[in-house]
Subunit: 382 residues, 2 copies
Amino acid sequence: MREKKIPPLVNDEEVSHLLDIPSPRLEDAYHKGIIKKYQKKGMNAIQFRKGLGPVEAGTMVIKGEEIEVIRGFPKIRRILMLHPALEKHFPDKVAVEEKMNGYNVRIALVDSEIVAFTRGGYVCPYTSRKAREILDLDDFFQDYPQMVICGEMVGTLNPYVSHYYPEVGKLGFRIFDLREKLTNVALPIMAKREILADYNLEPVKLLGVFPVKKAPQRILEIVKELGEHDREGVVMKDPQMQLDPLKYTSSQAQAAELEYALSFPFDLARAFLFSRIIREGFQSHETAESKDARRERALRMGESILYPMLETISKVENGELAAEDLLIEVENKEQADEFIRYLRDLKVMATLAEIKEGKAVIRRVHQSTNDRINNYLDGGLY
Amino acid sequence: MREKKIPPLVNDEEVSHLLDIPSPRLEDAYHKGIIKKYQKKGMNAIQFRKGLGPVEAGTMVIKGEEIEVIRGFPKIRRILMLHPALEKHFPDKVAVEEKMNGYNVRIALVDSEIVAFTRGGYVCPYTSRKAREILDLDDFFQDYPQMVICGEMVGTLNPYVSHYYPEVGKLGFRIFDLREKLTNVALPIMAKREILADYNLEPVKLLGVFPVKKAPQRILEIVKELGEHDREGVVMKDPQMQLDPLKYTSSQAQAAELEYALSFPFDLARAFLFSRIIREGFQSHETAESKDARRERALRMGESILYPMLETISKVENGELAAEDLLIEVENKEQADEFIRYLRDLKVMATLAEIKEGKAVIRRVHQSTNDRINNYLDGGLY
């Protein structure tokens, strides 16, 4: 195998110092593919495809006027049983914020420009453009150039996770963390909310701060209510943000994810099925549901597994493609093409189906689902 | 790595000739673990752990007075859509036999002794003993020493798949194939049934022989009826046995397998979930069910996923073990111990729970399920 030429940022002494990782270890990580070169739109950077020691996946080290480190957004662990996990994890109080169903975005100032990174550290052209359109961040970044705004891009007109929120509609951004660029230290809940209010920036909903003893029961009630309104769940945080947050989601969120996965069974279902089902099991156990509620949950699970599969089989039988249509707002074809090129860089195969009334329909075909359903409908053996 | 000493049977010229596989290829397969030495109960043999060319997994080559080849039972492929798979596969007529829910056993004469092999080629001591007890095979093997009897060990007192059949009860053996030792050629359906009748041996039920055009509809009706009686499904065969058989199972069989898998979610569910769900999808599609029937199927799926999981979580919470109890008939403790040793050879960890009224309770603990449920109940993060 040909030795890859190491990008200068990988064995830069300053980078090694900033990340507190010795250069040889960074070089080794580069050879293993943990770190990749990232050069798009004039940005000269390295991207952490996986975590390395304390440095999270999604971290970007960017060489501009100076070297900037935008740390990856930390993985939030899930709990299956609120009681006793909360008491074990939080010593005193638990702040409960809504977990919204969209995609994670970090926004930061890089060389005086506002840049939006996806979870993996990619600079999504659509997200960057929309972030600048939706949000007025100039004053904020004037005062806090070293901060990273971490939030969820939500709404129906987003290409990754399209979900309708009445208070959002087409596209909106809700902020859950303000973190320091290099250290990834997050502001305490109340400090964060005050600053966001000062700059007219929208936080995610704070649903309460509870003594840890009372938290499990209150959170179960909150999540039940959220689920009934087709909302995803909660993130539970130490009010001081000294401890890692935890997450917990509604049965309806699990059902929605099963539905999505089973719409493209041969592309997505294997990876989704097991964990969603396990979550349902423990949630049902913890809530000590009535026999009827339990049966309702079983039916909801069964329906979200069976029905989307049937819909896709019928669709393919009728000669249609098993595909997702992603909708984004564009001003011209170039913007749609740019987004498609960006997806292809991520190995997501998509094509432009049409542009109509300022919206581009980006079609993502799920090839295994098409191929295998066609094969079985045709009498192929399993 | 130390070179393993090659057992003489692997590079025996006669074996190479009988299997029509060159000796170097057999040696190579031995080094790859495809072939293993098998020396139990005075039997000097090699066992095919995987298939090699035309030789099926489970094939045993035994050196006795002469070299005997007991071919592995061929894998039966599944169809998801009866129509059009049957027409594609069978030119004319389809014989439909019941597929019973037990475990596959091949019985053959080796050095004048009647030996029972499991699917993988192992000589199960319990199966061998019970086969000799249940079946009177002396006359048959007197006349057909070169035949292998292939059938299903079924009933509640079997350690692998315990399932109640009213016509069987505790333990019974139903024969689906008579095959030639070396070639694996199977007798035609009617010839097989005639011979079995002559020797008072019980075949699986023949549910009909249908013109291929009519077969899909008839089989859907048959399988629906079987499912309603908690029976597994069918195997569809060319009456002349010149073509590979195919299998198709009832929704209830899928549900039962989901139930079993979800009783031990962290040990079994990942491997089981996906394929059972896919089968349900295509069956529901092909039968063009009413809305109500579809909802009933969804509920059945959901319940067979959720309820067994809940039962196991509660069990573990109450300090019980997530374990299966296998029941076998024994005359003394030595027979139980022998069976447990046999399971351990197969890497199945089991212990003797008790012996009572001639039955040994063999407990098979599902360790990951215990460990992980305990961890989550204890507040562990997912």
